[in-house]
Point group: C2
Chain length 610, copies 2
């Protein structure tokens, strides 16, 4: 694969069509105008724009990051060129209806589209992606006036958007935000407060920036139930909706991150020096609930991005390992023998295979999640729709946390494959590693995801989500075991099966523990539960990929042996699945023991003992 190939040409078609059967979505009226050809055309356009306009400045923007002179943010011109091309291609409105100027594309396809841009340049991609996320909230919860004021120009990228949630004193703890919003006679609100780590919070790429700001309306309930959501534009809109003068939203400083340097991360002040006008979205005090409803998509996007950056590091180190010669491999290991490509060394194969398992496992997982969103959206059977929604809710913490834990691990192995070269900034392995380090932190730290899974998602609606998940996994494994042409995958399925039983036992045990004082122990052991749950789900994703590949391989071998590259691709899928099941899955036996024994080592530790 050449260095400027963002994603192996077989990868996304395999995931989309062979594993997920995304083409079947076109049977639904919503997507009836589409077919595989239109999907492919969209993916091809994304690949081209990403390769030609996003990739070339990925490393440049890392070295030459945005600057703030106290008045304006400046950055290299390439970002604007790329952003404009993205907007002109219509991708911001990709998910939206034909009537609103969109392409009415499934979430599954739009996630794959995102893959090319994330692979090319995650920093520049942040600007349009945050806009999409903000549109998503506005379109669902805002009234028509707000929609009309902002949405049309956001869909074209004339206006961009942000999510302004975090405050300096309260990171994950949104209940404690201090930003206030006081209602005025004209129905608008005066917003006052400070926000921090607001990605894309200031720049000159668009005519206006619409911040979605969480704030408290005085007199509301304490804690998370007293939080409201506002659209706060950088520039006010005139009566005729043309862009007017400045609103009192000010950049107080850029944050200097260790990666993702091309994307501004900002500290913003609202209403500090004048009048900051905000527009209530939906109803007062419902703000956090709206945000939570949009979190499934946002969290999948973070997980997918983490997998894609992991994938880039994998491909980068793979190219290096094929090219770089060093040492010898038996039987050609005499001093006179020529040096071998390092990919021939066992330990290098192990490091590459682990990267493949982490990156492509995460890609499969997040595309499954996106596809689930489509299946929910088009489902007309209410009970099934409810089941699928529960399944998505349950999987969401895993879709965010597992890829953002293992994507960076892949990047770490990528550096190691390069050896000394990997430690230099002359090579790019280290940038992938730095960029990806953000993903375990933002959009809810992985610790928060583990708590969400352990205390909420596994039990909500009487555990309906986990019942559905077990049913889906069991169906798939049973089906793999009955296939005639996938014996390797059947072996893998039989290795995963017992773990479903272990998970069941752990959950039965925990359901009792949670009724007792020992429940607190689970706050420290939540990561162990996440490990078990995520590893089973990822194993399932790998068995789905392996069985698909094995069937295609055996079918194609039967017919003819034309495409040896594709056969190699299928072999690789099967082998990566074996790696995951043999090398990664068994690690959770540790976690199973910890939880069954209510291990109290972490909760017993006292702050003074450190």
């Amino acid at each position: 694969m050449a260095a400027d190939t963002l994603i192996n040409d077989f990868e996304l078609p395999f995931q989309l069509y062979d594993v997920l059967d995304a083409e079947s979505l076109t049977q639904h009226p919503k997507f009836a105008e589409h077919n595989r050809e239109t999907f492919d055309a969209v993916l091809d356009t994304a690949n081209k724009i990403a390769t030609n306009l996003f990739l070339p400045h990925n490393h440049v923007a890392d070295k030459d990051e945005p600057q703030f002179d106290g008045k304006k943010v400046s950055m290299i011109d390439d970002v604007k060129t790329a952003f404009d091309a993205y907007c002109e291609s219509g991708f911001i409105a990709g998910r939206y209806s034909f009537e609103s100027g969109g392409m009415q594309l499934p979430e599954t396809v739009m996630t794959a589209v995102a893959g090319y841009f994330m692979a090319a340049n995650p920093s520049t991609t942040a600007y349009p992606f945050l806009t999409t996320a903000a549109i998503n909230v506005i379109s669902h919860f805002a009234d028509d006036d707000i929609k009309n004021a902002f949405m049309p120009r956001m869909l074209t990228g004339q206006f961009t958007g942000t999510m302004a949630l975090t405050e300096p004193h309260a990171g994950s703890s949104l209940a404690d935000i201090k930003t206030t919003a006081v209602k005025q006679n004209d129905g608008s609100y005066r917003v006052k407060g400070s926000k921090i780590y607001i990605s894309a919070g200031d720049h000159e790429l668009s005519e206006n920036i619409v911040h979605l700001v969480l704030a408290k309306v005085p007199g509301g309930p304490a804690g998370v139930k007293g939080i409201s959501l506002f659209a706060v534009p950088k520039y006010r809109l005139n009566e005729d909706l043309s862009v007017g003068g400045r609103n009192d939203v000010h950049l107080t400083g850029l944050i200097h991150k260790l990666g993702y340097r091309g994307a501004t991360s900002t500290a913003l002040s609202f209403g500090d020096a004048g009048e900051c006008r905000g527009y209530l979205i939906g109803e007062e005090h419902f703000g956090l609930r709206y945000m939570f409803k949009m979190m499934n998509e946002a969290r999948i996007a973070v997980g997918f991005g983490a997998s894609i950056i992991g994938y880039r590091g994998y491909q980068y180190s793979l190219d290096y390992a094929k090219d770089r010669t060093q040492g010898r491999v038996p039987p050609h290991n005499k001093p006179e023998d020529p040096a071998a490509a390092i990919i021939e060394h066992g330990d290098v194969k192990r490091m590459l295979l682990a990267q493949k398992a982490y990156a492509e496992g995460g890609i499969a997982l997040c595309l499954y999640g996106s596809n689930l969103i489509d299946r929910i959206n088009i489902c007309e059977d209410a009970p099934l729709k409810n089941e699928l929604s529960e399944l998505l809710d349950l999987l969401t913490p895993v879709l965010k946390a597992w890829p953002s834990e293992y994507g960076p691990k892949a990047n770490d192995l990528g550096i190691q494959v390069l050896g000394g070269a990997g430690y230099t900034r002359e090579y790019h392995a280290e940038q992938f590693w730095r960029d990806n380090r953000l993903n375990p932190i933002h959009e809810g730290t992985n610790g928060v995801q583990a708590l969400d899974l352990s205390f909420r998602k596994l039990w909500q609606n009487k555990g309906l989500g986990i019942q559905i998940l077990k049913r889906e996994i069991t169906q798939d494994l049973d089906s793999v075991c009955t296939l005639k042409n996938a014996p390797e995958s059947a072996k893998l399925a039989s290795k995963l099966m017992p773990y479903l039983g272990h998970l069941h036992e752990v959950l039965i045990h925990l359901s009792k523990v949670l009724q007792t004082e020992k429940a607190l122990t689970l706050t420290a052991n939540a990561q162990a539960l996440m490990n078990i749950f995520a590893s089973i789900v990822v194993s399932w994703m790998w068995i789905r990929q392996a069985s698909t590949a094995e069937q295609l391989l055996n079918n194609e071998i039967d017919s003819n042996r034309q495409d040896s590259e594709k056969q190699n691709f299928y072999h690789g899928k099967i082998q990566a699945a074996k790696y995951y099941i043999d090398w990664e899955l068994p690690l959770i036996n540790r976690d199973i023991e910890l939880l069954k024994n209510d291990n109290t080592v972490c909760t017993d530790m006292q702050a003074d003992w450190f």
Copy 2:
């Protein structure tokens, strides 16, 4: 602990005196002039110089890294000030005899001394440390002329040293180096070739730089047996040993690393533009064997440094976790309750405890290794000396690889504890993480260490090393189990015991496998064997710490309860040991299974399948 406290005041005395009984070294004539007071005075001086002169510019040198204008390397002045203070304190000669101007200190104490400097500023520390490493080689293998020419001025820091091993086309594969050395009539050699990644390879800190260069003398044997070692000074020495004109050693460029930025990493050319004079150390063709004999110390130094950087990240995130408030912990979890320090959250405790287990486990491990060097050096019983040497040889790959794998993991968790702040360059958690990423790579990658363990160290001299190790561990565990006042540690010992049996079974199995074609599988599975071996050794280190702490705690509680801080420290040691044994050790069950089943997933993977 205040932010400028490099290492908790209890930590090194506990490791040195309570766990290792380093004071007993003073019973030997070599160290008879010393006592605990002189050791403590040396440690105190190190702590002060490190705190006052090394720490303040650690972050500054990272942002303002050395520059090369084509003629000279420039760097911030603070490096020179710190380097000079280090030299004036006599630390470079710390290990050397009183007669040669040294302090005749044990390796154990000098390693602890190094801890303060590594904690304060690993980059600036690289300059004196590499000088020490070069002196070590010269003092052991060079003839008197070379010793007289270089050593006295290296011991004072007037001259510095480097290790010039790696070449651009051959990283780990020293057999393939191309640098040549041709003998001249005057007995000197003309050296010609290129070296890369030479740390401290150029700077203006000293009057001269003595490069220890690996090169091939034409006509020698192929491969590793045809490599010779040369002292190649940047400036030639006149007849009277005064510093003369330039030798043809030139800096072709600085390498831009992702961390350790204050230390120059260089590409050097030898004899490219003129005459590069080198002086043979020892005999022709024995160069690599000399280097290997010095590798135990060098590898312990890397491992120890990695643990210390891990420790700094741990302390940094610990300070943050005590200070930062966010969210609530039952029973004070109503919205009206004040926010809790994040150290009270279970998942934060887990992340801090893991960091403690990794960092302090590595510190204990490397100090054990240093102490072993002292025990070997003063041992007068030939068979015992031989046994201890075998034990050191066996442990060396673990002493390098385990801390340099887990030190960076601690730094990763350190970032995570800080959340969003951890991702910014305004905080230092990220610098520890970047600095430490070098350690799994240099001084033999961790992949190379796993191969060294799996194919050489475990089997050399009929497995004498592993026999001694098992004897030592078993003795300690048996002894812990008979203690009356350490019941918690006895429980931990009983949990470790079965793993010694598992390791034995794995090794019996592998000893047979290595006789067959399946031996190649172990090149891909060597990391699994390293995991098993290292985790058992680190568990042993933790049980040694826990049992020492538990005895001291129970004794002190019996006498009086004066020093509650010290009691907290002991509790922390016991709890970290429990964490390691319950949370980390069981992970190797995966590796045991892989090796017993001769897992071939990685070796079966074909280059074309990626």
